[in-house]
Structure formats: C-alpha cells, structure tokens
C-alpha cells in the first residue's frame, strides 16, 4: 500500500483556508440527509396518493401522512442547528434550544397572527421584529448558530468559573435568541423581499427572463429561503390571471435538473451505496422534493450544481420563450404536469421543458465529471454500517498508531530522565562551588553533563 503524504503545519493551514461555503453547507447537511430523503419519499407518496384520489386532503389519513413527511422539513432548523453547531464548534444542544425557540408554537402563531392582521411586533415596546417564516428555513439558523459559535468563547472568557454553569447557558440562549429574531433571522426575508420586487418588475418588462433566472437560481433561492417571498407573487398570479409564469415553471425546471444531476452521479459513481443514495435522491427530486439532491449531491460535489444551474436555466429559458403557464399550485415536479394540462400545447411545452432540464443536466454532469466522496462520507450519508473487513482495517490502523505512540513515549521518557539528571547534577555542582564544598577541578564533570544534555535533547527531538 502506498504511503500517504503527511501534511506539515503550514500545508494544513493552507488546506484549512481552502474550506469554502460549499464544504460548509455540505458538512452541515451531511448528517441529516438520511432523514430528509426518508421524509422526501413519504411526501412523494402522499402526493401520488392525493393525485390518484386514494386519499382526500381533508381526511385524517392525509393529515397523518402529511405530518409524517412534513415534520422533518417543518423542524428542519432543529436538525440544522445541531449539525451547524458541530461544524462551527458551538454547543449543539444550546443551538437546538435556539432553533426550538424559533419554532415554538406560541412564537410561530404570534408571528403568523401579526402578519395576518398587520400588527407591528416589537420587543420591550421598542425594538421592531420582522416577520419571518422559520418553519423549514435554512439560512437563518445557520447564521444564528455561527453567531452563537462566536459568542460562546467570549462568554466562557468573561464569566467567572463559579457562575459559569448557570450564566453560560442563560446568556448564550438569551443573546443568541435575541440577535436571531432581531437581525440574523430576517436577513433571508429582506433578501427575498428585494428579490420579489425585482422579479415582479422584470416580469412586466422581460417576462421570458424570469423563468430563466428562477430555473437557474432556484438552488440558491432555496438555500437562502428567498423562494418563500415569491410564493405571494405566484398565488396572486394564479388568483388573478388563472396561471403563473413566475415561480412554478422555473422551479419545476430546477427540480428536474437536480434529478438529472443525481442520476448522472448515480451512473458514474463507483460505490454501490452511493449509487443507490443518488438514485433515490433523483427520484424524490422528480417529485419536486429536491433537498437531498441539492444538499447531499449538488452542493458537496459542486460540478453537478453548476450543471443543474445551466440545465435549469436552459429549461427555464424554454419555459420563458414558450410562455408555459402553471394553472395550479402543486409541488413543482413530474406530478405538477397536471397543472399544465390545458391547452395541449402548454402540456407539450412543459414536457419538453422537463426533458431539456433532465437531459442537459445529465449530460453536462457526465461531461464535467466529479470527485466521488470518500467511503466515510458515503457511510455518513447513507447510514450504512461498517463491514467486518473495514472494521479490521481500522483496528489494524489503530494498533499501528498505538505502537508508534508507545515508542515515542518511551523515547521521550528516556530523554526527559537524562535531561533532568544532568540539570540536577549541574545545579548541585554550582551550589557546591558557591558554598566551597566542591573544588573547581571537580567541576570538569559539568562539561560532560552539558554534552550529555545536548545528546539527550537531540534524542528527544529525534523521538
């Protein structure tokens, strides 16, 4: 087996500098993708049963099935808080507590009520609080936990040891929650509101450009939660015009593009479990639930993300120039085709749009290639247990490391003993000289001691 290159301290620092936003998002989502994919499949199942008429939207079966699929996405900020805390080095359960605060029913109901009746919410009667939909949100909690990771060391430094166990969690929660709802949480909403304004303006002047932009930029809109700001535009279009051209066609193109990227990665991947993971992510993306494709494949591997942006953009462009109209608000995926059924030309164009998104992204991903994640990463993604041979390999490595550590320890121990002995002898000689108990001739041994010390130091360094 080839010996692996060991990085020096400087090289390690350089490697650390290469850590970018994609790695960060990938790192945050990696541990929770297994839950997202499970919930995504359940949502797809719910939609299929609804479409074929097996369940009704007001039935209790629908409520249960909907809850089963939606709960993970509704409480996504809690899952994200724990994984973000692990990435940023904050306390995971304090981060989860902050997320739980944002999703606490009384808080969400208050936000929802204030937004519905036009009440301006304030804190202590002075500080204005912006309405934010924290359910299923991504960016707010990542920003908040990042802030928490910066606050915690400061608090640890300033709080006296005696009071730390009480004051540390109290202050961390208080400061982080306040900063979260006042400044950090609303950032995504502010961005989204600006975006909604620009998109509405563009839609009146260059309508074909809007689906192109949405098709290309949907992955980023989803990450920042800005797509929620476009929902009112789409609902208004559906209500007033009877169709939407702003959000639904572009998002459908983007989701199908992500499905294309996932299947391309599944085709090219070498590890069986990763192939299966990518294929299942591709299937859920076909049904419009693209989180596992986006966070588990496109973002960490980067090139599939570029491919899906291009593929989604191309399909969105086609949707723009042909003026595809979505006539209902359905999760944008294959099942949403029922919302494009009239006239037939609209349906045909929607099918062509889907085909462009899928084929273009699939081919581009194959051409651009990607670096397959390591076995460990795949295991983390799929939740696959370690095989016996891999377990043995890890044990062998551990034994090897232990043996090396023991040797180093022994060498260091010997060196330290000799250094100590030399220092004591030298000190004793000096004291003897100072008190006149030892003659100068006897200090010759000091030189020997000095040499011995040098030798031991050298030995220590070698070790």
């Amino acid at each position: 087996m080839a010996k692996e290159k060991t990085l020096s301290g400087k090289e390690m620092l350089e490697e650390k500098k290469k850590f970018n936003v994609f790695d960060m998002i990938g790192g945050i989502f990696k541990p929770i993708l297994i839950v997202i994919i499970g919930a995504g499949v359940l949502q797809a199942l719910r939609d299929i049963l609804l479409q074929i008429g097996a369940i009704s939207r007001v039935s209790s079966s629908y409520i249960f099935l909907d809850g089963l699929g939606n709960a993970v996405f509704y409480f996504l900020p809690i899952f994200l808080a724990i994984s973000s805390a692990n990435v940023f080095g904050a306390t995971p359960f304090l981060a989860a507590a902050v997320a739980a605060f944002l999703l606490y029913p009384n808080i969400t109901n208050l936000f929802s009520w204030a937004n519905s009746v036009g009440w301006d919410l304030t804190l202590f009667g002075k500080i204005p609080i912006t309405y934010v939909k924290y359910e299923s949100s991504v960016l707010p909690i990542i920003l908040i936990v990042f802030f928490q990771s910066k606050i915690e060391p400061l608090l640890k430094k300033t709080i006296p040891d005696l009071l730390r166990s009480i004051l540390f969690p109290v202050l961390t929660l208080f400061i982080t929650c306040l900063a979260g709802i006042i400044i950090l949480g609303p950032i995504g909403t502010w961005v989204g509101d600006g975006l909604a304004f620009v998109i509405t303006w563009l839609n009146t002047r260059v309508p074909w450009l809007v689906p192109t932009l949405v098709g290309a930029a949907s992955p980023f809109l989803v990450i920042t939660g800005s797509h929620y700001s476009l929902f009112p535009v789409a609902t208004q279009n559906l209500a007033q015009l009877g169709y939407d051209t702003v959000l639904m066609p572009g998002m459908m193109a983007s989701n199908i593009a992500l499905a294309g990227a996932s299947f391309a990665v599944a085709v090219r991947a070498k590890q069986k479990s990763y192939k299966s993971y990518c294929a299942s992510s591709g299937i859920t993306s076909f049904f419009g639930i693209s989180q596992s494709s986006l966070y588990g494949i496109a973002i960490p591997l980067q090139k599939p993300l570029i491919a899906s942006v291009i593929g989604g953009g191309l399909a969105g462009f086609y949707a723009g120039i042909t003026g595809i109209r979505a006539q209902s608000f359905v999760t944008p995926g294959l099942l949403s085709l029922v919302g494009y059924s009239t006239p037939t030309s609209n349906l045909i164009n929607a099918v062509i749009c889907i085909a462009i998104a899928f084929v273009a992204t699939f081919v581009l991903t194959l051409i651009m290639g990607f670096q397959e994640p390591s076995k460990e990463t795949v295991r983390e993604l799929t939740g696959e247990p370690i095989s016996e041979s891999e377990k043995q390999e890890i044990l062998d490595k551990a034994e090897e490391l232990e043996a090396t550590a023991r040797k180093t320890e022994e060498a260091l121990g010997d060196a330290a003993m000799e250094t100590t002995r030399a220092t004591i002898t030298r000190g004793a000689t000096r004291i003897g000289e100072a008190t006149g108990l030892v003659s100068a001739s006897e200090t010759e041994s000091e030189e020997e001691n000095g040499k011995a010390k040098e030798a031991t130091e050298q030995k220590g360094e070698d070790a």
Binding site: R57, S60, L110, N115, S116, V117, T235, A239
Partner: protein, 171 residues
C-alpha cells in the same frame, strides 16, 4: 435483543388485531361544526367558544391624491364564550380575500387597534373591534373567520377545520 424485538412485534400485531375487532357500542366522536358561510350582522359561532358578529364594513380613501388606494375597514364584535380570559390572538383570525387574493392587512386607519390585544373575561363581549385591508379593486370581498379548532368531527369522521366565509360588498 432479538427476542425483545419479536415480542414487541407480536404485541403490536395483537394491538392491531384488537383494533379490528367489532365492539358492541362504537364510540362516536363529535365536535362543534362551524357553518361554511355567514352574513353581516349574524352571530357566527366560529368554533366551540368564539362568536363573531360583523357589524359593518366601510371603504376609505386615506390619501385624496391617490383615489385608487382604498382601505376596507371591518367593524365586528367578539364574544368570548369560554370560561377563561382571552385576547383575539389565538382565539380566532379574521382575514380577507378579493378575487382570490389575500388582502394585505392595514391597521393605520382603524379607531383603536389595541382592542386586538385587549383581554376580555369569559362570557364577555368586546364591541367594535376594527381591522383594515388594502383593497385591490371594487369587487366583492370575502372575509374569512377561522376559529381555534384544528380538527372538526363531521359524522364522527375527523377533518381539517375551515374558516367561515362572509361575503361583503365594497361601498
């Protein structure tokens, strides 16, 4: 471990089977079922405890330079039929739609917006609460009043609750 799992599985199956067995007397779940629609000046019970009466609606033009910008002011009474002190928040929600589009709320031109957060005792009625909505056109507006129930039982079958709709004309 395996034994425990098998035992648990058997128990789950037994419980499942027992649920399928027919009992002599089936328990029928019931709840208050709100009406689908209501009218102005009607006492509308929106859930088990809350009653709303839409007293009046009027349209204002706050800015004379912009005659197209109109606001619908809805005045209503709320009776808290429960035994507890409550505020409007959490008891019911009044929203409005015009041409299928949810209207943007506006509290700038109502008489006393603090009535929305004034607590009242159980059995009391809070009169002349006002809420404003920014109109999109002169077409009819549908007010939606949703009570605090999440699920209603219709003939013993649980269903998602729904708002009571009150059509009002824009004058």
């Amino acid at each position: 471990m395996k034994r425990a799992c098998v035992l648990l599985l058997i128990l789950v199956c037994l419980f499942g089977l027992s649920a399928c067995s027919k009992k002599n007397v089936d328990k029928v779940f019931t709840s208050f079922v709100p009406p689908k629609t209501g009218t102005v000046n009607e006492d509308i019970q929106v859930d088990e405890t809350n009653h709303i009466t839409i007293v009046s609606t009027n349209t204002i033009t706050p800015n004379p330079d912009k005659p197209d910008e109109k606001i619908l002011i809805v005045t209503y009474d709320w009776k808290n039929g429960s035994e507890k002190q409550k505020v409007t928040h959490g008891s019911f929600l009044l929203t409005a739609k015009q041409d299928g589009v949810t209207l943007k709320p506006n509290l700038k031109h109502v008489d006393d917006k603090f009535k929305l957060v004034t607590p009242i005792q159980g059995g009391e009625t809070l009169h002349d609460i006002q809420q404003g909505f920014e109109l999109l056109s002169d077409n009819e507006v549908t007010l939606s009043i949703k009570g605090s129930m999440q699920v209603v039982f219709e003939d013993g079958v649980p269903k998602g609750s729904y708002p009571v709709e009150v059509p009002v004309t824009v004058n």
